[in-house]
């Protein structure tokens, strides 16, 4: 390949100059065309969400009588929809529930996953490869194959409807991805560092806590943000496994609102944006980490 490249670079200066000139004008046109196509696509992607957002800020009477795209003709805005949804529809309770569910369900799989990933990446024992590749296979396992027996187990251990039931489920379901991501990261840490610490007489647990974890903060941040958003957005596990309406998170509440008041768009729109608020904030503050966590193993779920 390098031979071909060098042969391209030869040829008379004259030829190269003229071909460059036409190429650069062609490139400018191409750039303009690409910008137009991308602007169109970006608009197509933006408009559906933007329309709902505008609707969430319009008075109910306006929503029923004119489309949101007429907002420029009838510019009237209100926060009333948000106060109704957060107040009389208990979305503030659901909001709190989402946090109560999500925070432990983010910390636990990272902690347990990091321990397991350390064993798989940094310790040498028989069976570790088998465990690792089983974890990769489990990443693809559909949760549909687990829900009914998990429900039965929850009732046998009297956990039905408790916070701990949903925390443990999210932890278990989050573990394969956590182990996969962290093991990949731990495996790239310099081996000499760990060996030196071992020779100095440090225990495995202290190497894990004092060396491996501090060096892995970026990976843990990516994983944490990804797991947080994934649990926050989860509908199915909460709907199936958390058999207690008082503890439902925002996603389940929003789904209920859609079933009950399928055409009260003022409530649906503001409810949807309440549920989106936290992921949106996380995204805008920590976009880089989130994208990294997501692309590291796009197979979760």
């Amino acid at each position: 390949m390098s031979l071909e490249v060098s042969s391209y670079q030869q040829g008379s200066d004259h030829q190269v100059a003229s071909s460059r000139r036409s190429a650069s004008s062609r490139r400018a046109w191409g750039r303009a065309l690409r910008t137009i196509i991308m602007l169109t696509l970006a608009l197509i992607w933006f408009i559906p969400a933007f329309g709902l957002f505008i609707t969430s800020l319009r008075p109910q009477s306006d929503i029923a009588t004119s489309g949101w795209w007429r907002i420029f003709a009838v510019p009237r805005f209100t926060f009333e929809n948000y106060s109704i949804v957060l107040g009389s529809h208990n979305f503030s309770t659901n909001f709190l529930n989402s946090f109560i569910i999500t925070i432990p369900s983010t910390i636990l799989p990272i902690a347990l996953g990091a321990l397991a990933a350390y064993a798989l990446a940094c310790m040498n024992f028989r069976g570790r490869n088998f465990v690792f590749f089983s974890v990769i296979a489990i990443l693809v396992l559909p949760l549909q194959t687990t829900w009914v027996p998990v429900l039965r187990m929850q009732s046998r251990f009297h956990m039905t409807g408790s916070w701990i039931s949903i925390w443990l489920a999210h932890t278990a379901y989050g573990l394969p991805f956590a182990i996969f991501l962290l093991r990949t990261f731990f495996a790239e840490l310099p081996k000499e560092l760990l060996e030196a610490a071992r020779i100095d007489g440090h225990s495995e647990f202290s190497i894990f806590c004092k060396i491996v974890i501090p060096l892995s903060v970026p990976a843990i941040a990516s994983l944490g943000i990804f797991q947080f958003v994934w649990v926050w957005n989860d509908l199915m596990n909460a709907l199936v496994l958390l058999q207690n309406p008082k503890k439902f998170p925002l996603t389940v509440a929003l789904q209920g609102l859609l079933g009950q008041y399928g055409s009260e768009w003022n409530l649906l729109a503001s409810g949807a944006f309440v549920s989106m608020s936290i992921p949106l904030v996380v995204f805008f503050l920590l976009q880089r980490y989130f994208v990294r966590g997501l692309t590291a193993g796009a197979v979760k779920g």
């Binding site: 391209y8 190269v16 991308m38 397991a116 549909q144 194959t145 009914v148």
Partner: protein
């Protein structure tokens, strides 16, 4: 001696994770396999029926799962549509964006906008699309747009017609998931060897030729990876279907993952639903093997 101590310590580090994985994933999966051979209503089906659930599902006995009469329909066929148009759509559009947006001044903003749906819940995305698809002329932008270009035309019931509903759902799916495909393929495209592309351009190859002859073949691995991720997603899919259509109208938008949910939690047919979950698992096994092989290859490469 050291190896033995290492071994005990290793398993101790693994223990908490392994206990949860076995309790919540491995054992339940085996238990569901066993239940798939039982029939009847209720949460602990007692009547052993052998392969009857599978025979009914795959033999055309349940037209909402697999209708073998022409034209074929049902959840299994819908999933083929999802694989073709959803996996195909996200890969093609994601790749197009990765290539077209590359190097533009507004690249970051374009890509952030298209990525945004990835971070909201499927429930919220469903609200957005039920709003967009609404037949009410004051609510649904699509129908308002259509009636503004051809006045007098009846609004299209995007989610209410058995012919269009799957494509409408797939459209929402593409809106959600293209961001992922774009991100993976854009990173891969940016890491391509620029010298080769520049050299081909100096030699007079058009951008079009460069893309088809050079970039595309070099992106093959990542394209396959993204396509398989999307196929896995579409097979497991429940929430989008549940919130947008509840599988309707008349069961016409069911997917395999949704059918499981409906039979178990709506119709209380746990054994029958378990057989659907097992069919889903069997369909996913080739992708499981693919993922394990892919990771194994990466490991030996390092």
């Amino acid at each position: 001696m050291k190896v033995k101590r290492d071994s005990i310590q290793g398993w101790l580090f693994l223990a908490p994770a392994l206990i949860l994985l076995v309790a919540y994933l491995v054992y339940p999966c085996l238990s569901t396999l066993k239940m798939s051979f039982y029939g009847g209503q209720g949460f602990s089906p007692k009547r052993f029926v052998g392969f009857a659930n599978y025979a009914r599902l795959l033999g055309g006995g349940d037209s909402l799962f697999l209708n073998l009469k022409w034209p074929p329909s049902g959840a299994l066929i819908n999933n083929i549509l999802w694989i073709l148009f959803f996996a195909g759509g996200t890969v093609v559009i994601g790749l197009a964006i990765a290539v077209l947006a590359d190097g533009l001044r507004l690249e970051k903003i374009f890509k952030s906008l298209i990525f945004l749906p990835m971070i909201i819940s499927a429930t919220a995305a469903s609200v957005i699309f039920r709003f967009l698809y609404s037949p009410d002329p004051h609510i649904g932008l699509l129908n308002a747009f259509i009636s503004s270009i051809s006045p007098g035309k009846k609004p299209i019931p995007w989610l209410g017609s058995t012919d269009i509903v799957n494509i409408a759902l797939i459209g929402a799916g593409i809106w959600i998931w293209t961001g992922l495909s774009m991100t993976v393929l854009s990173a891969a495209y940016k890491s391509l060897d620029r010298e080769i592309l520049e050299a081909a351009k100096v030699d007079g190859a058009s951008s079009w030729t460069c893309f088809w002859r050079i970039s595309l073949p070099m992106l093959e691995d990542q394209i396959v990876f993204v396509a398989i991720t999307m196929i896995i997603n579409s097979l497991k899919l429940v929430d989008l279907v549940l919130v947008m259509t509840g599988g309707g109208p008349m069961g016409s938008s069911r997917t395999i993952g949704f059918s499981f949910y409906w039979e178990v939690f709506n119709n209380n047919l746990v054994g029958y639903g378990s057989a659907i979950a097992m069919i889903l698992l069997i369909l996913l096994i080739p992708f499981m093997v693919f993922q394990v092989r892919r990771i194994k290859a990466q490991e030996s490469y390092q």
